[in-house]
Every structure is written in C-alpha cells, then in structure tokens.
C-alpha cells in the first residue's frame, strides 16, 4: 500500500533521514515520537505537502514522489483539525467535493451520508467556532473521508479532545480500519499505540529507531528512549557479570539483579516495568529470582491507581491498583520487599 524508500528531507537544522517504512493494505500503523521528532513532517511528505530531498514514496505500487497533492489517494487530518472558520460544517465537508466539481445533488448526498456516519448531521448548518473538540474532530474526519481516501493520515488525533471522548474516537478509528482503510496514526502517547496499532514505529530525531508489533516494541525496547515510551520508569545502569554459572547485573549502587541467560556486553541498562514488580510489607518466605528490601519514599495517585516510589539503594517505581494498595497496609517510610522474575528484567546494551 505505502512504501517509503530511503526518504530524506532536510528542514533547517533538522532532518528526516533514511526513512524506510512499508505498510500493507488495511494496516493500522502508529508512529510514536516526541514533538519535534519529525512525525508531522513525515506525514506531510506522504500527503505531498512537501517533497523529499531524496528517496521515493510509493502508494499502491505507483511512485508518487513528485505527484501533486491533489493526485494522491491520501487524506490528512491535522492535529488541531484545521477546520475552515469561514465556512459552516457543511461547507467544510463539501469543500473537497467542490474541488472535484461534482454536481450539487451529489455533493448534498455525500455530505449527508458521511455526516450520518460521523453523527454530526445535527450540526451541518452551524459555523465551527463554538463546536466542541469532539465535534471538530468528527467534522475533520468527515471532511477527509468524504473524499474516499485509500490512506488516512492522522496527526495527533487525540491531542485536543477530552479524555471522555477518546474511547469513542478510538472506536471510530478501529471501525474505519476494519472497513479496510489503511491508517497511519501519529502520536506521542504509547497508550494509543497499544490500543490501536497493528504495527508501531518509534521515531526520534528524524530516524525510525524501532519498528514492529506493539507487544515486541514495548516488551523489548531497543533503548532507553523507546522504553520510556513503553511507560517504563525503572532504569538501572549496570555492569553485566557471569558469576556462579548465571548472569548477574550489578548496579552502580552495588545492588545485584539475577537476569535471564543470554550474551551480554560489559555494560548496559536494566529496565523493569512498574507492574512487573511485586511489593509486600513482609519478607517473602522464598526468594526465587530477585528480592530487594527498601523504604517507601512517596505514595502518589496515578492514572491506574497508586504509584509507589521505593528507595532500595536504587529508586524503584511500583504500580498498584487502589484495592491492592489497601490490602497491603503500607505507608510512607514503611519497609517493603520488592520481588520480580529474572525475565522481567530487560537488559539493554549501552546506556541508551
């Protein structure tokens, strides 16, 4: 469906470099990256708003690198929707149909149909200044979809809408994808990638640094940067040692982790997901892989319940649900024991 071959584009001091992406028909591809990483520029290259300095862009087996925007079967929904404020909702949706010089009757028919699909029939005659974020999002989607694109590009589509509407919009995206639409969704939020993506690409400083199935990327991040995107907060700089017939990782603070067998370089990082760590107020009777004693420094509410910061010579973050936390009867300055399997400790070479 879409192939980017060694696409490079210089923009001032920043450059998208050697971008290679292949997206088959019907795939939901999430491109994950911080602001300024080049996500939007990449979408603009695919849409045809700018031309690459080198490399090729293929859509449906056609080289579209030098093709005009108007001739590409691509729809782009902008981050803040870019709704035309001088037109009604109807005018916005009908805009592309007027460009194609369709007859008034057909325009009316197609606008009404897509407005029904997007649940915005009741606001068709309104100007857009007083519409909510969710309504604007649907107008922007309708305006793009009415043109029947083969490839839908979404630039941070959840960035400007209320949390309560996000699930609704996600359902809409999933439905569109199930109906066969290929989607590239750009975001900085790994949770969107987890919940929507067939495939994830992580972009940083104009390079795609990791690509793959979401579970692979988030389970085995190639470096600290990707790990942060996977929501991992526990990072430990370590030296890897082969000792007593097993691999160990020794932290700067001399804490030692048992890690699964593999071949490791001399130095690297150990990553631990907050929800892979078990916490208890009493010393476990049997320690299988890793047991660490520490003191609770902070207890903070988090998106999923409670986040506990434990000082065990190194700082650990542990996630608990509110119920799990209540059952533990622990407070700040309580002594606690942290346990985790050696498989939970993800080892990365270098310092990420």
């Amino acid at each position: 469906m879409l192939k980017l071959k060694n696409v490079t584009k210089k923009l001032g001091n920043f450059a998208l470099t050697d971008i290679n992406i292949e997206i088959p028909e019907g795939e939901y591809y999430v491109l994950l990256g911080r602001s300024g990483s080049g996500k939007t520029q990449l979408l603009e290259l695919i849409a045809g708003l700018s031309e690459p300095d080198s490399g090729e862009i293929w859509i449906n087996n056609q080289n579209v690198t030098s093709k005009k925007i108007q001739e590409r079967p691509v729809g782009l929904v902008f981050q803040d929707y870019a709704i035309f404020p001088n037109m009604t909702v109807f005018g916005n949706i009908a805009y592309s149909l007027h460009s194609r010089k369709l007859k008034r009757k057909e325009i009316n028919q197609r606008v009404t149909s897509i407005a029904d699909e997007m649940n915005i029939s009741d606001i068709l005659n309104r100007f857009t200044q007083n519409l909510s974020g969710g309504e604007l999002q649907r107008v922007a989607l309708a305006r793009t979809l009415v043109n029947s694109p083969r490839l839908l590009l979404l630039d941070e589509p959840m960035a400007s809408i209320d949390a309560s509407l996000k699930d609704d919009i996600k359902r809409t995206f999933r439905q569109l994808n199930r109906n066969g639409l290929t989607i590239i969704h750009v975001t900085h939020d790994y949770r969107e990638a987890v919940s929507l993506a067939d495939k994830v690409g992580v972009i940083h400083n104009g390079h795609i640094i990791q690509e793959g199935l979401p579970e692979t990327v988030f389970r085995m991040p190639v470096n600290k940067f990707v790990a942060r995107y996977a929501g991992i907060r526990n990072f430990f700089r370590v030296k890897f040692l082969w000792e007593e017939n097993r691999w160990k990782a020794v932290c700067d603070g001399n804490l030692v982790f048992n890690i699964s067998d593999s071949s490791y370089p001399e130095e690297g990082l150990i990553l631990l997901k907050s929800d892979d760590i078990k916490i208890s107020g009493t010393e476990p009777s049997k320690c299988i892989d890793n047991c660490v004693k520490g003191v609770i420094r902070e207890i903070n509410p988090s998106e999923y319940g409670i986040e506990i910061m434990v000082d065990a010579g190194e700082i650990f973050y542990v996630d608990l649900t509110v119920n799990e936390f209540k059952l533990l009867h622990i407070n700040e300055l309580s002594n606690v024991w942290l346990t985790f399997s050696k498989e939970a400790a993800i080892a990365l070479p270098g310092t990420g």
């Binding site: 300024g36 782009l76 035309f84």
Partner: protein
C-alpha cells in the same frame, strides 16, 4: 502611592497628546462660521475638487489592490532571496519626502519617462491628468495596503491552506476560498488606510498635477492666494467629508463576519 503618581503622569501625558491633535482641529471648526461653510459647500470649485480627490484616490486604491494583495500574500507566505530588500522597497515611499516622491513619479510619467512614453504613444498625457494624480497618490500610499494585507495573510494559520490543498483544491482556489476571506479584515483596513492616505496627499500630487485641483491643492491655493480665512471653510468641509467616508468604510469592513483565527499550532 507610587502607582498612583505614575497613573497621573500617564493621564497627563496622554491628555496632552490628544489635546495636541484635537485643539487645532477644534480651533479650525470654531473659527468657521455656518454661513461661510454653506457658501463653501455651494462653491463649484470646492465640490469638484473634493469629488476628484475621492474618486481618484478610490480608483488608485482599487486598481493597485489587484497587484498589491497578491504581493502581500507572497510576502506573508514565501521565503525567497532578498526578501528583506523587497520589504524595504515596499516601505520606501513612507520614508521619502513626498515632494521628492512627486518628482520621481513625474520623471516616470513625463514624456521622457517609461510610462509617459507609453501613454504618449496612446495619445494620453499623464501630467495634469487624474491618471497621473492616481499614480502619485498610489506611490505614497501603497505600503499601507501591502503591509496591512501582509499582516492579515500572516495571521491566517498556514495549516488551513495546507488542509485545503490536501482536500484537492488548487493553489488559486485555496487563495480565494481560504486565505483571502480569512485575511479580509486586514485587507479592508489596509484598503481604507491607503484610500485615506491617498486622499490627503499634497506634496507628490502638486508636483504631478496642479490642475485639475484635488482638495489639498485647492486648500493650499486658497491659503497662498487669499489667506487663512479663505482656506479654513474648504479645509473644514474636506475634513468632514473625509471623516464621513472613513467611518463609512470602516463600518463596511467591520460588518463582514468576524472570524476567530487560532494561533498556528504547527511547530
């Protein structure tokens, strides 16, 4: 206490500036009797000169707008080599002494000049002609329209134009359906400013055309020939007409539905 003293100083200084503008105008109005004013209204020469001033300035603004507005869009949207120099050229008429501007325009439209030569070939003379007056007015007032329109286009978020392009619109359709309507208020403000500036021009016009007399030249002529007393009623009448037109145009431009433009979110 400090704050209060500061406020008093601000108030006094601001009042002085406003008084400086209003006092001479008020004095002129107060020194002009009703009968003198009515007599001036009936004066055919005055009527003709005010009418000439209005329509020539309007025509100059209207016709030059066709080229000035696209130039303003270019200045707002495109980066090109020597752009700062182009901006300097646009602003040049504002800093030139207006009589010098008049001399420059006269050189351009006289029979020896480029435009004058072409006009001459067509059997026209631009000197002492409304067309020459329009050129002189446009020369000194164009920056007002271009700069205001440029600011208007700059305030239109570029992503709206990009969105229109991705929706299959041609560059010209994007300009006419998105950029122009959204920059409309600034363009109209620039239009009014250019019109008003052209209307009040004396220095450049008097070099190009003493006759037919536009209102500022007529006022000067009455002053130099008959004195202050005779120049005053014509001045008052011209100010009243100019103000009325200015207010009317502002109202028309403001009537256009105001469109909220959010700042460009693009990085």
């Amino acid at each position: 206490m400090k704050n209060s003293l500061f406020n008093w100083i601000l108030l006094i200084l601001s009042s002085l500036v406003l008084l400086f503008i209003l006092a001479p105008l008020a004095g002129m109005f107060l020194h002009t009797g009703g009968s003198e004013l009515i007599e001036t209204v009936r004066d055919k020469d005055v009527q003709e000169s005010i009418w000439l001033t209005l329509w020539v300035s309007f025509a100059a603004t209207f016709f030059f707008a066709f080229a000035a507005i696209p130039l303003a869009w270019l200045m707002a949207r495109k980066n090109f080599p020597l752009k700062n120099i182009v901006q300097g050229i646009i602003d040049l008429p504002v800093v030139l002494p207006h009589t010098a501007a008049g001399i420059a325009v006269l050189g351009f439209i006289s029979r020896d000049g480029f435009l004058g030569n072409i006009a001459d070939a067509l059997g026209l003379s631009l000197i002492n002609n409304p067309a020459g007056i329009a050129l002189a007015m446009a020369f000194v007032s164009l920056p007002f329209l271009i700069n205001s329109a440029r600011d208007g286009f700059s305030a239109v978020p570029e992503r709206l134009e990009k969105a229109a392009l991705t929706l299959g619109a041609s560059r010209s359709r994007v300009f006419f359906s998105i950029s122009l309507p959204l920059a409309w208020r600034s363009i109209m403000t620039g239009f009014v400013m250019m019109f008003a500036r052209g209307m009040s021009e004396f220095g450049a016009v008097v070099i190009v055309a003493y006759h037919p007399m536009i209102a500022p030249v007529l006022i000067f002529e009455r002053f130099s020939s008959f004195g202050l007393k005779y120049a005053r009623p014509a001045s008052v009448l011209f100010i009243i007409v100019a103000l009325a037109i200015f207010i009317l145009l502002r109202l028309i431009s403001l009537k256009k539905k105001e469109v909220q433009l959010s700042p460009d979110a693009e990085a």
